[in-house]
């Protein structure tokens, strides 16, 4: 069994009027099936309101399933006695970097998680140092988070989760509020954690470019998983993606247009290098 396993997971937001009568029901998760293998890098794509953030909150037991089951690291999230164990094995990074940093010094914030789970003082220090190093923020350890850039703050937040030594980290649109440089910084840090430390990563995003490096992609729309596959498979279906109000990366779009115009370029081009190689193959010989 994978580290995250969802079986027909349903979650509904129920809005009630003052008398407690049900006014409307919004199904945020509609029979979701997931199976994530340990050590993999998974991306969940979807536009606003597709239910992807709701899914993220389930993985940390911040929300509980309405129907169906969700196992994280072999533990049922709806079982109250596992709640904190689940939060230890699946760390979570949120969208707004300012609203998830608790302490007024970087290293103290990274130490907050280990403090909560009762790690001895000496070990907190080694964990803080190690996790700050792993996101490249060690030299800012005694700074105030207020003076850091968005990307740096988000890396501190990731370090804060890493210090709890989770098996899996869930990132809920970690780059939505960052500038392009900050986005690159954060993604680099996340990929490095996945490769070097073998942490399972579940990246939730609506930026196509961030999905390219993932092992497997789920596309969500209106609470359902509508597409799944490797990035190559997903991006080869440009028209279908557009139907779900998702844009493909520019380079994929270019390749797609060229293909439509009659060039024999293969589907699912993800990077500039790939397209260049294909074009060279087509025309390079004519030089």
């Amino acid at each position: 069994m994978g580290i995250i396993k969802a079986d027909r997971l349903v979650h509904e937001y129920i809005r009630r009027d003052e008398e407690g009568n049900v006014e409307s029901i919004q199904t945020a998760l509609d029979h979701i099936d997931l199976d994530v293998q340990p050590g993999s890098f998974i991306a969940v794509l979807g536009h606003n309101g597709s239910g992807k953030s709701t899914l993220a909150k389930h993985l940390n037991a911040l929300l509980l399933p309405g129907e169906g089951t969700l196992y994280v690291d072999g533990m049922d999230t709806s079982d109250g006695k596992h709640t904190y164990d689940i939060r230890r094995s699946a760390g979570m990074v949120f969208q707004n970097p300012d609203n998830q940093i608790i302490a007024s010094v970087v290293e103290e914030d990274v130490g907050f998680g280990p403090e909560n789970i009762g790690v001895p003082t000496d070990e907190i220090w080694t964990r803080v140092e190690e996790s700050l190093k792993s996101v490249g923020m060690l030299k800012y350890r005694s700074h105030s988070p207020n003076r850091l850039s968005g990307g740096q703050k988000q890396r501190v937040a990731i370090a804060g989760v890493m210090a709890m030594e989770p098996k899996c980290i869930v990132l809920d649109e970690p780059t939505a509020m960052l500038d392009p440089n900050g986005r690159k910084e954060v993604l680099k840090a996340v990929h490095a954690l996945n490769k070097k430390k073998g942490v399972t990563v579940l990246l939730i995003t609506h930026y196509m470019e961030e999905v390219v490096g993932a092992d497997f992609v789920y596309v969500m729309d209106q609470g359902k998983i509508v597409m799944q596959g490797t990035p190559k498979e997903i991006f080869s279906k440009v028209d279908k993606l557009k139907k779900y109000r998702l844009d493909v990366p520019q380079i994929t779009l270019l390749a797609h247009k060229l293909r439509e115009a009659g060039l024999s370029i293969s589907r699912g081009i993800l990077t500039r290098e790939e397209l260049a190689a294909e074009l060279v193959q087509l025309y390079g010989s004519k030089k």
């Binding site: 939060r87 007024s104 998680g113 003082t121 907190i124």
Partner: protein, 274 residues
């Protein structure tokens, strides 16, 4: 305008006072405030002065920083001194005008009250100038821990304080942004009388509160996600531990308080014999 607000007034320096455990400093300030109201004559006053001056010297904080704190309470000091000067009843009337009269007791009271207020403010600012807000919160939490036995939520109070400290700069920045946004749409925060200006603050405060609540919600979720369960079973990354210097600090304090108290009891006796 809002940039000028600085949080706390920590003055970084490498001094024995800075290195003291925050609990020692809290206790010391407390003892000092009490002592200020225990002495009644010039000898006690002299002891308090020597103590204060030597602590300020040790702390390496420039004297001008201490005086800054005094400016804000200048009015209060003036009123206190005037009340004491004119309204103290006594036998040796120096001057009188209607119900106002200056007596020699009044003069003595006024001077002592003034000195007490000045020392009080300088004394407490030594603490805030040499202790970071974080240390202060930690110190308070540890010092008040016994109260948690009678169900005072000491840990929660300390956590609230430290989170407030973290968010004050963020909220100030946000206020600035909202203010600029309102000004761009024609809001006027600077002109008009007091009532007009207070009214102009409403469209500033409402969005600020809304966003503060949203932030609080997010933060609570982030804390829960990182396994925060309150103070129970929590370890500390930077636990407070007394060092040799801290015990010395306590000793000096006890000695000081002893002198003041003893002089309060035996001072009058000594005077009788002289």
């Amino acid at each position: 305008m809002l940039r000028e607000i600085t949080l706390g007034q920590y003055y970084p320096a490498d001094s024995p006072i800075h290195k003291l455990d925050p609990r020692v400093k809290l206790m010391g300030t407390f003892v000092y405030i009490i002592s200020l109201f225990l002495f009644r004559d010039v000898v006690g006053f002299a002891v308090a002065t020597v103590f204060l001056v030597s602590v300020v010297r040790l702390s390496k904080v420039p004297f001008s920083y201490m005086v800054k704190g005094l400016k804000s309470v200048l009015a209060l000091m003036a009123v206190t001194a005037l009340f004491n000067l004119f309204l103290t009843p006594g036998e040796h009337v120096l001057a009188a005008y209607g119900i106002l009269r200056i007596t020699s007791e009044g003069v003595k009271n006024a001077v002592f009250m003034l000195v007490r207020l000045i020392y009080l403010i300088v004394g407490t600012s030594v603490m805030t100038l040499t202790t970071t807000p974080n240390q202060l919160t930690d110190g308070l939490e540890k010092a008040l821990m016994p109260l948690s036995k009678v169900k005072v939520p000491v840990h929660s109070i300390a956590m609230i304080m430290s989170i407030a400290l973290r968010f004050i700069p963020i909220l100030i920045e946000e206020t600035d942004i909202i203010m600029k946004a309102q000004m761009a749409r024609g809001a006027d925060f600077e002109n008009g009388n007091l009532i007009k200006r207070v009214k102009a603050m409403v469209p500033l405060l409402v969005p600020l509160f809304v966003s503060a609540f949203r932030r609080a919600d997010d933060l609570a979720m982030a804390m829960e996600a990182r396994c925060y369960m309150g103070g129970v079973g929590r370890t500390k990354m930077k636990p407070l531990k007394y060092k040799k210097e801290d015990y010395q600090g306590y000793l000096v304090m006890a000695g000081y308080l002893g002198i003041i108290v003893l002089w309060g009891w035996f001072g009058p006796l000594v005077k009788v014999f002289i």
